[in-house]
């Protein structure tokens, strides 16, 4: 190619990048009839599926609301914090500075929640998280608690971890646990949280921590087999869980495999193949398609383009609905929303009552569901 053309193109490209299309939506605070909610979670990056599964729940809730309430319209903006604390630390001040935003549906991950708190707390912006489940976020004593702005409609790991240990050993008389984690903010504490219950129900014959993204799990598999364990619990995400469970089965391990909600994604059975059969999973979530009627599901698909609602669609829907409830009561400012969310009593989509305690957890706790993989599909089994 002609050199001049190349350099010309380069300059043009650079100029477009530097000063090009400004897609800022400095939504006008003066506009009376539109308020904005922000969805914050991973929409790109390695954990994108988590956020991509949740956002249809929020979109669906807002579409239903807008159809019924012509007076005050609600818009949704997406704040993609990639399940990454560093990114969230920059995103959150930006969302907080946008005066039109009166509530945040999010975050999906615990790490990004903690890094968002300082900015949202300073701005008095209320958060309702569909899936951030680290215990410390609502622990009155933890320095990184989200009080008073943080709320979540999901059971935290303090409930999930013991439930996971219980559900994993269901029907086993003398469980010998082997607990493995992926050294992340999510997997580490979840795995650690199962230990106390595991020791109560049986014995813990070994623990290991394998960094997320490791290729080879054979040495872990040999260790597990040598330890004589019959219940393996993994705290981590889908991709690595699939690799680990495959390595364990190929290594001749025949006991129970179990993991938490990080693994409970629709991808998992396909990724783990035969090793997925019988794997026990937990999630602080009841499947959305189990709650919706056929007509509602068709409407959901029509609005969002998603056929089968993913994990945590229900909680995302609930979280958004709480904001929408407050908005329909005429609460259109940040302090009013905060007061409304803190003190109000709301109805979940399944008919359950949602009322937050002082530190942002649902009073009475949200249920933890136990799931099984059967014939390549994750099916809801029982309350764990």
């Amino acid at each position: 190619m002609n050199k001049k053309i190349v350099s010309g193109l380069a300059i043009a490209a650079a100029a477009t990048l530097a000063f090009g299309v400004v897609a800022t939506a400095p939504a006008n605070a003066a506009a009376k009839k539109t308020v904005t909610l922000a969805f914050q979670g991973p929409l790109t990056g390695g954990d994108a599926q988590l956020g991509q599964d949740q956002i249809p729940g929020a979109i669906y809730a807002i579409a239903l609301y807008n159809a019924k309430n012509p007076a005050v319209k609600v818009e949704l903006i997406k704040a993609d914090s990639q399940c990454d604390g560093t990114v969230a630390a920059n995103i959150a001040p930006g969302v907080a500075a946008n005066k039109a935003v009166i509530g945040v549906v999010g975050t999906s991950c615990s790490g990004e929640a903690r890094n968002s708190f300082p900015a949202y707390r300073a701005a008095g912006l209320t958060m309702i998280a569909p899936s951030a489940s680290a215990v410390s976020l609502t622990d009155p004593k933890a320095p990184d608690r989200g009080f008073p702005i943080f709320h979540r409609v999901v059971a935290h790991d303090g409930f999930q971890a013991p439930a996971l240990a219980r559900y994993a050993a269901k029907g086993v008389t003398a469980p010998k646990y082997y607990v493995i984690d992926d050294m992340t903010t999510y997997g580490g504490p979840l795995a650690k949280g199962t230990l106390a219950t595991a020791k109560k129900l049986g014995t813990v014959v070994g623990t290991d921590s394998v960094a997320k993204g490791t290729a080879d799990y054979t040495s872990v598999a040999s260790k597990v087999k040598a330890s004589g364990a019959n219940v393996v619990i993994y705290g981590g995400y889908t991709t690595d869980a699939a690799k680990l469970f495959k390595a364990l089965r190929d290594g001749g391990y025949t006991g129970i495999l179990a993991s938490g909600d990080g693994t409970n994604t629709s991808d998992f059975p396909g990724l783990a193949g035969k090793a997925a059969e019988g794997v026990r999973l937990t999630a602080a979530d009841v499947p959305f398609d189990k709650i919706l009627t056929a007509a509602q599901l068709a409407e959901f698909t029509k609005i969002t383009g998603v056929k089968v609602p993913g994990l945590y669609s229900t909680t995302a829907f609930n979280a958004t609905n709480i904001f929408l409830d407050c908005i329909s009561q005429g609460k259109l400012t940040r302090p009013a929303i905060q007061l409304c969310v803190n003190s109000g009593s709301f109805k979940g989509v399944g008919g359950d009552v949602i009322k937050f305690n002082r530190y942002g957890d649902i009073i009475g706790g949200a249920p933890v569901g136990g799931y099984l993989v059967k014939n390549g599909v994750i099916i809801y089994d029982a309350v764990a």
Partner: protein
């Protein structure tokens, strides 16, 4: 600096309150010795194949080919594409046997090698050639290679929507039998034999053939090779091509053994392979081979003895120690050859 993770001193343990204390477990070394050796070899030889992508390029250009990890990633997806979309084996396809298995795998292997070789050549054209022609400094090439790496990584991420993908189990994992606890499974045996064959062929090629000799000539002195009438650009393209071929073979083996891939699969593999190349002595063909094996064994034994969380720390500590005593790696070239 070092809170002595290996310290058995009780007081130190208490004051630091190690979150994941190190349970030194020497009994595994005796009980699982052969099993660890076998798995270490299998893993190490995959590292060795990928590290050729670094070491070959380093040999002639004295540059770290940072895009090689993405070439590997590309190979895993090429294998997956061939098996799932081109040959039409769905996720639940039954395992193949006999002749059909052999030619299916051979086809996937060749396709992956070819795809990686082509990509490696393109990488050279985009990231290195123009810069080399202008005599640019080495770091500029390094950054443009990183640019290519980011571009490929992000491109694949967008194409696959960040989703992990899986290949069907075409190769049923039957076992030849056990030896002192070491399970000689077909895939383990394959990942040990195939790289050895490739290395022998490559070693012969570089040492015997005319083209191989020209590669060695360029790596010793580019100026002199030019004077001897060697077409430098062709040799460099050939080097990238060979690096791509071996990386492609590694990608095929990886995909066949671990049966999954994701857009960022290359990152860990790239770091491991680069470490292996340095451990063995970068720029040196046999160094990459032994470096890979050493790294594979080291990782397996460190995981078994200290716990997987200390694996990377152990590897780099050993690397530093080796380089202190052998500054050019275990099988490094003589010092006068490392500089021109």
């Amino acid at each position: 600096m070092w809170p002595l993770p290996f310290g058995g001193v009780a007081t130190l343990h208490n004051t630091l309150d190690l979150n994941r204390s190190v349970d030194m477990n020497f009994s595994v070394v005796t009980s699982q010795f052969w099993s660890l050796v076998l798995q270490g070899l299998a893993l190490g030889l995959i590292y060795a194949l990928v590290s050729l992508g670094y070491t070959m390029v380093y040999g002639v250009l004295r540059l770290i080919n940072f895009a090689n990890s993405e070439v590997f990633m590309f190979g895993t997806f090429a294998t997956l594409y061939i098996e799932v979309h081109f040959l039409g084996y769905g996720i639940n396809a039954p395992s193949l046997h006999g002749f059909k298995l052999v030619y299916t795998l051979a086809f996937a292997l060749l396709a992956s090698m070819l795809a990686c070789a082509i990509l490696a050549i393109i990488v050279e054209l985009v990231a290195y050639r123009r810069l080399r022609a202008r005599g640019a400094n080495r770091l500029a090439s390094l950054i443009s290679a990183i640019g290519v790496s980011i571009f490929l990584l992000e491109g694949m991420r967008i194409i696959t929507i960040s989703r992990p993908m899986t290949t069907p189990r075409l190769l049923d994992k039957w076992s030849f039998g056990e030896f002192h606890g070491a399970n000689f499974r077909i895939d383990t045996v394959m990942t040990i034999i195939a790289p050895i064959v490739i290395f022998v062929v490559l070693d012969q090629f570089v040492n015997r053939s005319r083209l191989g000799k020209s590669i060695r000539a360029v790596s010793m002195s580019e100026e002199n090779s030019k004077l001897m009438g060697i077409n430098i650009n062709r040799v460099i393209t050939l080097t990238f091509c060979i690096g791509g071929l071996t990386t492609g073979a590694a990608a095929f083996l990886y995909t066949t053994v671990y049966e999954n891939t994701i857009f960022n699969v290359g990152f860990n593999m790239g770091i491991a392979a680069f470490t292996a190349a340095v451990l063995g002595g970068i720029g040196n063909l046999r160094g990459a081979f032994y470096g890979g094996i050493a790294l594979g064994l080291l990782e397996q034994f460190a995981s078994a003895m200290l716990g997987s969380q200390w694996k990377a720390v152990t590897v780099f500590t050993v690397l530093v120690a080796v380089l202190l005593f052998k500054p050019n790696g275990l099988f490094g070239e003589a010092v006068q050859q490392t500089r021109t």
